[in-house]
Amino acid sequence: MISLETHLPIILIATPILMASIMVLLRKYPGIQKVLSVSVSFILAILSVFLLLQVWSGGIQAYEVGEWGKYGIILVADLLSSGMVVLTSFVSFLALVYSLDYIEEKSLNASYYPLFSLLVAGLNGSFLTGDIFNLFVFFEILLLSSCGLVIANEKGGVTKSSDKMEATFKYLVLNMVSSIVMLIAVASLYATTGTLNMADISVKLSAMSAAGTLPWHVFAIALMFVVVFGNKAAIFPLHYWLPDVHPTAPSPISAMLSGVLIKVGAYGMLRVFFLIFIDTLYIFKPVIIYLALATIVVGAISAVAQTDVKRLLAYSSVSQIGYVFLGIGFGSVYGLTAALVYLVNHAIAKSMLFLISGGIIHHAGTRDMRKMGGMVDSAPFMSLMFLTGAMSIAGLPPMGGFIAKLQLFDAGISEQYYFAIAIALIFAVFTLFYMFRAMLLMFWGEKRDVSEYGEYSSHGNSLMIALPIFVLALLIVVFGLYAEPLVSLANATANQILDPQAYIDAVMTRVVR
């Protein structure tokens, strides 16, 4: 009898991979596929909460795959990784429910379910693994499955398939180059320390640093990791693929990409820099802060001028991930707490906004905001939900985004980064402007010219589409009004990140059997 609690980390990775193959076999039976995938996704969400509770009460868990000790692959669930797994599982469950009604039948049955399962497996795997080469493998799983999902067709066919090809090509080429850079970095790290286990690398690098023999190329390796994770998270010089890829993907996939996938970059930064490259952080903290500021500025300015609703949301994602990296760059307990709270709130609000944009596109038959208007009469539910999301992204009380922005600016001021906070504040006003400009263009004002653009379609707001949006909106309001549990969880996580000794002990006390 296998006891479930001790095997949670591997179950969270293996089940989606197993489901991917089952879904391929079941492609002739769409009814079974639908029930099975949704129920398994729900069970995974429940299990991920169990894992988080277990880590919260029992400390960091290290799971040896194959019982090779620190020489083999180890899955490590600390508060950061199990928290990210909970976020992934919930957003992916809601996106899956949404896509049942949104994705075209043929695409849904043949390729969508398996690739979606693989995407979840890749996300869970890259959060839970404690081995740096394994992280690379899961990044590749993420990359390939998300490429396949961007190409999937939605009902109505608003996005041309040539656009999807072009965006995917851009995404794939850039990410292949970045994975080559990551391989170089991993190989050099292995040649320097002789191990791939992240805790072991950390021990060896700090021993070298204590002896004063830290080789100079460790700084170069750290810079390569900045490039790799910056590319995943769309940080300033590497952000230009995101506004093409996120809008052309079908809306539930945009929600996954913007909500969770770009956070893998932030996670990687937190894990690799605060565990392995602690001794190089004094150089890289300012680098991260300046890159984050540039990201905020470029994203916000570009978002102001957009007329395509999903492109606006994508540029907004670029700008908002800059705020997360700003918190990471501060590098204090308070800064990291703020970054984590910001990350969770942005994940929820932005996935909700992308899901809503899918409903709006169904309703209006176009992505151009100039061809919409007055939709508050014909789609009152969507407009209320969009207002909630827009308020959260813009940082207005009582939504979750307000708490996140408040904490981030407070952290910056208490760390005396006045210049950075000034810029961040100015562009927070930009956020307010572009979100409400979109709101006014789409929902308020005159109804659009029916003779030119046609009547709004009446379908599109089925229960399957409305329910995930409503749940996410509820979460935004809850995190705004009752933020205490999230903040204390983020605080505990930040403490754990800044004191990696617990992580190292949990991994290194294992012996080879």
Partner: protein
């Protein structure tokens, strides 16, 4: 001497790959990505060569890389009844880290999958746009 040649080979492959991915033609770009990934594979393998007797293999005596030095080359000869390659006494052996070879296998398989995907994608782009010139892919601008 050997190491210099190996480093030079890797460097030249990186150069060729970088040159090719800056070309305008999609097919050349894909070939460039292939060359780059093989350059990385060579780089990984090149980190696995060791001099000396400390071997990065866990033996059942529990020691960390303390396998006894056999110091011989591998031979197998049917006439003497030796089927598998075994080591003769009196020869020095240079060990190679087995882990990097596992890493390279994984990296090769992954680059196979991504290359297959990007080739299909390039073909579909050729169908949609009627060209393989990367500058023509600008329908998403603005």
């Amino acid at each position: 001497m050997n190491n210099t040649l190996l480093s030079l080979t890797i460097a030249i492959l990186f150069g060729i790959g970088t040159f090719l991915i800056l070309r305008r033609d999609i097919v050349r770009l894909i070939i460039g990505l292939g060359v780059l990934s093989h350059a990385v594979n060579l780089l990984i393998v090149s980190t696995g060569v060791f001099d000396g007797t400390k071997v990065p293999i866990i033996t059942d005596d529990g020691g960390h890389g303390a396998a006894e030095v056999t110091g011989t080359i591998f031979t197998d000869s049917l006439s003497q009844g030796i089927l598998a390659p075994v080591v003769e006494a009196g020869h020095q052996v240079q060990y190679v880290d087995p882990l990097v070879q596992a890493l390279v296998l994984t990296a090769i398989v992954i680059s196979l999958a991504t290359t297959a995907f990007i080739l299909i994608l390039a073909y579909r782009i050729y169908e949609e746009y009627g060209t393989t010139d990367i500058r023509e892919l600008r329908r998403l601008w603005g």
